[in-house]
């Protein structure tokens, strides 16, 4: 039996003593009175987009203030306690969901953003997606050849390489795809010296994951950037047709405003809060938006789940969470046809299984108590390509908090039914004894034939169908089509000067693959263009 519970792990935390590194860190929790700070560039959000932009702009000699709502938490505090990790490192402590509760949203909230808790899968933007952006939205300068050097630069920077030591859970997918004749390949991961523990989703305890927390942000700090954490961007300061800064509310340990307002003045403001937070900041700031597109077409890769029980140990909680993928069904009906989905495996720790097993009582317990012999698979639908897939809309509550209204329609439910069938077939092909899709009314199926008959009778309605997501994209679409897009292809906002958007919210559709490398590549390109412009 695999048991890592006695393994002792140790690593050096680069954030142990920021002052000794010569880093300028401002802790918002300690800021109790109003004051004003100035910089060349203020970046709101320290995830994939903000981290990359901070490094590039700082190294070009520009004074950067990097603002992050989350409290600084780093590897010495990553204690692998699932309850604490989700509470501290995810938006709304893991409670975030779409407005009607149908879709859980696993989105990071950390210095380093979601890169601190993602599962390290690093794919270049699929060429079909880049072509769709060019053809349908007028995105310029981002075809496959033009983006290749930017992806290559970020792959090198973040040590992206195909993984070799697959855990048993990922072996299931590799074996099944081989026997079914389905496409599959190895996932490239952004890790260096990975211990293959399996805790990417709780903050890497060994700093092997090349998240923004241990790569670009430290490099930006070395180059003179200031990190302001526990500090939430409230509104943009707009003077005439120009953005001149950001009003910041500092937050205490409970994410409650301390009462202090920091005014950050800069000729250039980059919004990198991620989809949901970035559109919300623009909505709160009442930016000019003649076609009312801010926050619209926000996408999530609606994700379904299936679980297989084997008569051997799988230990799905240990080892790199994702190292094999299957694109057999990603583009089966063309780029804009019925829902295509990418299949991968998922790390299963007890809380995660509890959340996604979709059920309760005896049935849920029977399943969860077989965790050591369980495999977990996910299927992520490409949303935003079909005309019936318009995604969600970010709205503001009356207190200014964002909420995303994403109606689960027939397009998603039909795709989810097929995705369940594919995952169930995959598990049986790999030798599972029992398989169950994440659907409250589903029982265990004991053979592929049995599954096909019974799954076809399930009602696919939103509450019964287990749907989650971990990739939020769009909401501030880039492109030249003004009726649909609010940002130019270089990241500049169309209707205000001095305002840039550099994160996944600029994507006009979902990516169709785990989005981190897409965000790194597009942000590296646009931050470099911006740095050259500012230094010209």
């Amino acid at each position: 039996m695999q048991d890592l519970s006695t393994l002792k792990i140790q690593s050096k935390d680069p954030w142990k003593d920021p002052k000794a590194n010569g880093w300028d860190v401002i802790d918002g929790r300690q800021e109790l009175s109003d004051r004003t700070l100035e910089a060349d560039v203020v970046i709101v959000g320290s995830g994939a987009g903000g981290g990359v932009s901070a490094e590039i702009l700082s190294q070009k000699g520009l004074k950067v203030i990097l603002v992050e709502a989350a409290r600084l938490k780093s590897s010495d505090e990553f204690n692998l306690n699932e309850a604490e990790a989700y509470h501290d490192l995810y938006q709304e402590g893991g409670m975030r969901a779409t407005k009607d509760g149908t879709m859980s949203i696993m989105q990071g909230r950390a210095v380093g953003g979601t890169t601190v808790v993602n599962w390290t899968s690093s794919f270049r933007t699929p060429v079909q997606t880049l072509d769709f952006w060019r053809d349908q939205f007028g995105v310029e300068g981002m075809d496959e050849a033009a983006m290749a050097p930017w992806f290559a630069q970020m792959e090198k920077r973040l040590k992206v390489m195909k993984w070799v030591a697959h855990n048993s859970n990922n072996q299931i997918m590799q074996d099944a795809c081989q026997s079914l004749g389905w496409q599959s390949d190895v996932i490239p991961r952004n890790v260096s010296g990975c211990w293959n523990l399996g805790y990417c989703g709780m903050g890497c305890p060994t700093n092997a994951k090349q998240s923004m927390l241990v790569t670009t942000i430290p490099a930006a700090m070395d180059a003179g950037a200031t990190l302001l954490h526990s500090a939430q961007a409230d509104t943009l300061i707009i003077e005439g047709d120009k953005v001149t800064g950001v009003r910041i509310k500092t937050l205490d340990n409970n994410k409650i405003a301390t009462g202090a307002t920091l005014t950050l003045k800069a000729a250039t403001v980059i919004v990198s809060g991620g989809s949901i937070q970035s559109p919300a900041l623009l909505l709160r700031s009442q930016v000019p938006d003649p076609h009312e597109r801010v926050g619209k077409r926000t996408f999530t890769h609606p994700t379904s789940f299936a679980f297989g029980i084997f008569d051997k140990e799988i230990a799905p909680y240990y080892g790199a969470p994702q190292s094999i993928y299957c694109d057999e069904f990603s583009h089966q009906d063309g780029i804009a046809g019925k829902a295509g989905y990418k299949m991968e495996m998922m790390a299963l720790h007890p809380g995660m299984v509890g959340a996604f097993v979709a059920g309760f009582g005896q049935q849920a317990w029977d399943e969860i108590s077989q965790l050591p012999n369980m495999g977990g698979a996910i299927a992520m639908i490409r949303d935003g390509f079909h005309e019936q897939s318009q995604g969600g809309a970010v709205e503001l509550r009356d207190n200014g908090e964002p909420v995303i209204d994403y109606p689960i329609n027939e397009y998603v439910l039909e795709g989810t039914r097929r995705a369940h069938l594919s995952m169930v077939e995959m598990f049986f092909a790999a030798g599972a004894k029992k398989v169950r899709p994440s659907h409250s009314q589903a029982d265990y199926y004991t053979s592929w034939k049995d599954a096909q008959a019974r799954l076809s009778k399930l009602a696919y309605v939103p509450v019964a169908t287990g749907i989650g997501c971990a990739h939020v994209m769009g909401g501030l679409a880039m492109g030249s089509d003004e009726s649909q897009c609010v940002v130019n292809s270089d990241g500049s906002y169309k209707h205000l000067d001095g305002l840039y958007v550099m994160d996944g919210s600029v994507f006009p559709t979902s990516v169709g693959a785990n989005p981190q490398l897409s965000i790194y590549g597009v942000s590296a390109r646009n931050a470099t263009l911006l740095a050259d412009k500012l230094k010209a």
């Binding site: 692998l80 509890g354 309760f360 077989q370 050591p372 509450v463």
Partner: protein, 177 residues
Amino acid sequence: MAVEMHRRDFLKTGLFGGALLATGSSLALLSGCSSNDGPAEGYLHLRQQDVELLLPLTGVVLAQALEKSGASAETALKAYDKVLNGAMPGTRATMFQLFDLMQLGAARWYITGSWASFADQDQATLTQTLQAWFTLDRTLSRMAWKGLVQPLMFAWFAQPEAGLTTGYPGPPQRVIS
């Protein structure tokens, strides 16, 4: 804020659902079922009336798991309360409105399919109630189920000791230098 949220939700949750959210909480308030005396003793957010409403459900959702750990439904509800602590105030407010609604027979029927108070239902009946609840294709049913049952399951099993009851051996040990 709460009143304005009702108004905004009115059109978006459908006529009946919206009307319930708009008037139900006030009805609950008038009938004395809803009061905002702050959190119940030992809780960060859940109020005494929420604790009384949710404890019977918690016992059924996690029955076998609690038995295995020799734990009470109250321990699990406190874990859920901690998960709620991570949510934004507006998200918590929405959950409290739903809990207030579920104090009323008519609204409880609309949301869960059951008129009877949860406290008056035995384990078998509550199991049937939960099973009927997630077949209801209504916005409020969905919001209540996904905001309560799914996070409750997460909250329980994410705790280190509860996690070990699943056969999971636990995480490696951190050594801080």
